[in-house]
């Protein structure tokens, strides 16, 4: 760790956001492992530590990966890692990111949405020709809501930490003036990148 990283590590619990870094592990969710992607164990590193490496989270319960609870253990302080005993992941504190810093990967997700949920989208007044417009609404709201912490951790598996972002989609055409509260699903990727998995999911209240 350099001086800046050491400082950020010391103040991590006081800062609104943090980045997880394992300084001994260059692998992240983005890196190809020729054998098996991200398996349960990559060398000395566990699946959770690889999938969380270099990712940013808001420093609030249910918005960040759960840390190991040492309260009822006799594990020595020197062995107490962040996510498991002897874990080498560190938290580096950061200020709240600006939405412009968030990168969203939609790829071909809008084609999938208009194929599988065409009836729903049409019912909101959007036509097939409105794909780009709806994508822009989803992307902009997702960036803003993630940066403002309007999200929650949904689950974790070998594909990474899935989060739910809460969107309010405006109706169009004859549905102008109406708003639809929907969840959108993402996987947290390194360096403030979110990879969309579900553009429009279930209703939120």
């Amino acid at each position: 760790m350099n001086n800046d990283e050491l400082f950020r590590n010391n103040v991590a619990d006081l800062m609104p956001w943090f980045k997880v870094v394992d300084f001994r592990n260059p692998l992240t969710l983005d890196d190809f492992s020729y054998e098996s992607g991200v398996p349960d164990k990559v060398g000395d590193h566990c699946q959770k530590c690889v999938t969380v490496n270099q990712c940013y989270f808001k420093n609030e319960k249910d918005k960040k990966p759960e840390e190991f609870d040492y309260s009822n253990t006799d594990i020595s302080r020197f062995e107490q890692g962040l996510y498991h005993p002897n874990c080498e992941c560190k938290k580096l504190g950061y200020a709240t990111p600006m939405s412009a810093e968030i990168k969203i990967r939609m790829d071909n997700r809008m084609d999938y949405l208009f194929d599988k949920k065409n009836g729903l989208i049409k019912a909101w007044g959007y036509l097939d020709s409105d794909k780009k417009e709806l994508e822009k609404i989803i992307v902009e709201q997702s960036k803003n809501n993630y940066a403002s912490g309007n999200y929650s951790i949904y689950k974790h598996d070998k594909y990474g930490f899935a989060i739910t972002i809460y969107l309010t989609i405006p109706g169009k055409g004859i549905k102008l003036g109406r708003f639809y509260k929907r969840k959108s699903g993402y996987i947290v990727y390194p360096n403030k990148t979110l990879r969309n998995t579900t553009p429009i999911g279930g209703i939120w209240k």
Partner: protein, 112 residues
């Protein structure tokens, strides 16, 4: 099998504790890369009101229902860091990447 193909879950539900999968249900592969011999499959609630369910499912527990028409170029754009070495297709019992390399030696034995 590849991203955006429709697939049927034919595995044992008990091996996917916590994912609420149902034997025989049909979902769509929604991420291109194969990790640990699994595709990431999403099941849509038909009423569109409940959350979609997604799970990494072993390739051997999936059966192709309907193949999409996505090109290799588009798959490449969806892969992490656009790296063509990621395993991303299953054809004739082989796990393949976009370089045409095979992961398994014996067809349909994905661990070989």
């Amino acid at each position: 099998m590849k991203i955006y193909d429709d697939v049927r879950f034919i595995g044992n539900e008990n091996n996917y504790d916590g994912y609420n999968l149902k034997h025989g249900e049909i979902g769509t592969i929604t991420l291109p890369e194969i990790r640990d011999n699994c595709f990431y499959v999403t099941f849509i609630d038909p009423s569109f009101e409940e959350d979609d369910r997604s799970a990494p499912i072993k390739i051997s527990d999936l059966e192709l229902v309907k193949s999409g028409t996505i090109s290799d170029d588009k798959i490449l754009k969806e892969l992490p860091k656009n790296d063509p070495r990621w395993w991303c297709k299953v054809e004739n019992g082989y796990i393949l990447n976009l370089l045409g390399e095979k992961k398994n030696k014996i067809p349909y034995d994905y661990n070989s």
